[in-house]
């Protein structure tokens, strides 16, 4: 456990250094976003979420139907079963604009803007 922690810290420091002087400070605390899929609708729709590279995004998804939420650009697909809540912690390690979509039916839930 301790070893893991040390490795993690080393990695964070390394990536911080690699990213240059402007981002030597640690990324801000994780961003929590709640997604609700109910009655064939979705909440939120096209919400802009501003993040900093390296920041964590914690998605909490509740659905009344079996569905999958796709985080574009990160090749992450989060499956939810009907009536369940799923939480997923993702590291936002890319720069750009990425959409988070539900599939049944297709909704653009979030627009991640990672600086």
């Amino acid at each position: 456990m301790k070893r893991l922690l040390v490795t993690w810290l080393a990695l964070v420091l390394l990536s911080g250094c690699a990213a240059g002087a402007s981002s030597t400070s640690a990324p801000p605390p994780p961003k929590q976003v709640t997604i609700t899929l109910a009655d064939g609708k979705a909440e939120p729709i096209a919400e802009k979420v501003e993040l900093v590279k390296g920041q964590h995004l914690v998605l909490t998804i509740t659905s009344d139907r079996a569905d999958a939420v796709h985080v574009h650009g990160f090749d992450v697909e989060i499956e939810v079963k009907a009536g369940e809540t799923v939480t997923r912690d993702l590291v936002m390690d890319k720069v750009g604009r990425f959409e988070v979509e539900s599939h049944e039916p297709v909704f653009t839930l979030l627009q991640l803007q990672i600086q």
């Binding site: 609708k41 979705a42 729709i45 096209a46 802009k48 590279k53 999958a68 796709h70 574009h72 650009g73 090749d75 697909e77 890319k94 720069v95 750009g96 604009r97 990425f98 959409e99 297709v106 909704f107 653009t108 627009q111 803007q113 990672i114 600086q115």
Partner: protein, 433 residues
């Protein structure tokens, strides 16, 4: 159950919105330059319709040689045949290179290619090569039902403008455009519509109807290289013959790219996704609406130059070509860099069997400047504003050849305002409100 993973990975990353100060700064420069040109640029036609240019005989001889042309044509034919194999026998996943090849290498790549190398697409075009082959085997070059010169004249590039809108619809509206079945249908339509038409009506049909060739030759008018001449692109745009229907091609291209930016706005996503009507309906309406908006505004701008004839309209529309190129670079350069490399990797394994035909399968993706948003923003700004500046200068020169001396300033105003509208609209779309 395995994850459905790379089902729609293509274009999964977009650029960050252009920062607001960049939008304002760009708009200020655009206004200053536009009215600066109107007030202080040359007052009588500078080139009076002559394209000019410097001949480069040795380079031209090399480029025109049978071997060079044959090699380029063979390369084009091979690339399309290779990808055609992936289209018909490959796997229906985004790792199939046909998707990246169609939407990125061809649709986006032909812009820098034509800008740098001039009208090379005509030589590269596999449909032309196939047609030439058929003529070699005895097909009449003018087709089985040759059209009259006046009909060709009237057709102009209008069929291609329609085909471009069709491709724009496939790229931006068609919900399953990343599946093989849909792409097979469109490829078939392209080959039958363009090559089949050329068999019936003659080779000239390709120049009238092939959306990729017409897009490429339109962009190539802004190139330094007009075989066999090295030219001033500004001068070439304002003096070279504008094919009939240029205005429709330019309208389609600008409308498609603008609509692509528009679909990324929060307003569009919210409105269409909370509506009871299907997204395809809104997409079709939005695409056609945007093309119509460009067409109507372009006509209003051109109207200032006098009675709106087809010839006037086509000539002045050439001044929008640099704006079209600026839009394309600003919207798609990152896509070309990222997905272009991914396509190169996938091309080694067209059937998903683990091949490494060209030795590219193991390559990594170089992100270049894509992790530095400031550089992307700067490139976008330079492309949009640069395209505008060149466009305004071309419009100025074309106007001077069309307008009587006493209306030479007032007559240009409408077109200038329209171009400012396109450019500032482009900046706002990149800001992605």
């Amino acid at each position: 159950m395995t994850l459905l993973l790379p089902l729609h990975g293509l274009g999964s990353r977009q650029d960050l919105p252009l920062p607001f100060p960049a939008v304002v700064g760009g708009a200020v420069v655009v206004l200053l330059v536009s009215f600066g040109v109107l007030a202080f640029a040359w007052r009588t036609s500078r080139w009076s319709g002559h394209p000019g240019g410097r001949a480069l005989p040795r380079l031209s001889r090399f480029i025109d040689s049978k071997w060079t042309r044959g090699l380029v044509a063979a390369l084009g034919l091979f690339a399309f045949a290779w990808v055609g194999m992936a289209l018909w026998f490959g796997q229906d996943r985004v790792t199939n290179p046909v998707f990246g090849f169609t939407y990125v290498w061809v649709w986006v790549g032909l812009v820098p290619l034509s800008l740098l190398l001039g009208p090379v697409w005509r030589t590269l075009n596999p449909l032309r090569t196939l047609h030439r082959g058929m003529v070699h085997l005895g097909l009449p070059a003018d087709g089985f039902r040759p059209l009259s010169a006046s009909l060709w004249q009237r057709l102009g590039q209008y069929p291609a403008a329609l085909a471009l809108i069709g491709f724009g619809w496939l790229e931006l509206v068609q919900p399953d455009n990343n599946t093989l079945a849909v792409l097979q249908g469109w490829w078939l339509a392209w080959v039958i519509g363009c090559l089949g038409g050329a068999v019936v009506f003659g080779e000239r049909w390709l120049a009238a109807s092939d959306p990729f060739e017409v897009y490429a030759t339109t962009v190539a008018r802004a190139s330094w290289w007009q075989r066999p001449l090295l030219v001033n692109p500004l001068r070439n745009l304002s003096t070279s013959t504008a094919p009939h229907g240029t205005w429709a091609v330019v309208t389609a291209l600008l409308g498609i790219t603008a609509f692509d930016g528009f679909t990324g706005t929060t307003w569009w996503v919210r409105t269409t996704q909370t509506s009871a009507l299907p997204g395809t309906f809104w997409g079709t309406l939005g695409l056609l609406g945007m093309v119509a908006l460009v067409g109507v505004t372009l006509a209003l701008g051109a109207r200032g130059l006098g009675r709106l004839t087809g010839r006037t309209f086509d000539r002045i529309a050439a001044s929008v070509i640099p704006i079209v190129i600026g839009y394309a670079v600003a919207h798609y350069l990152s896509l070309l860099v990222l997905e272009g490399q991914r396509t190169l990797i996938n091309l080694s394994d067209p059937l998903g069997l683990g091949w490494n035909t060209f030795g590219t399968a193991e390559l990594g993706i170089n992100l270049f400047w894509l992790e530095t948003p400031a550089i992307t923003a700067l490139i976008q700004l330079i492309a949009i504003v640069g395209g505008h500046v060149i466009g305004v200068l071309v419009a100025h020169e074309v106007s001077l050849t069309l307008l009587p001396p006493k209306r030479r300033t007032s007559g240009q105003l409408a077109m200038l305002l329209v171009m400012i509208g396109y450019t500032c609209g482009g900046l706002v779309l990149l800001f992605s409100p």
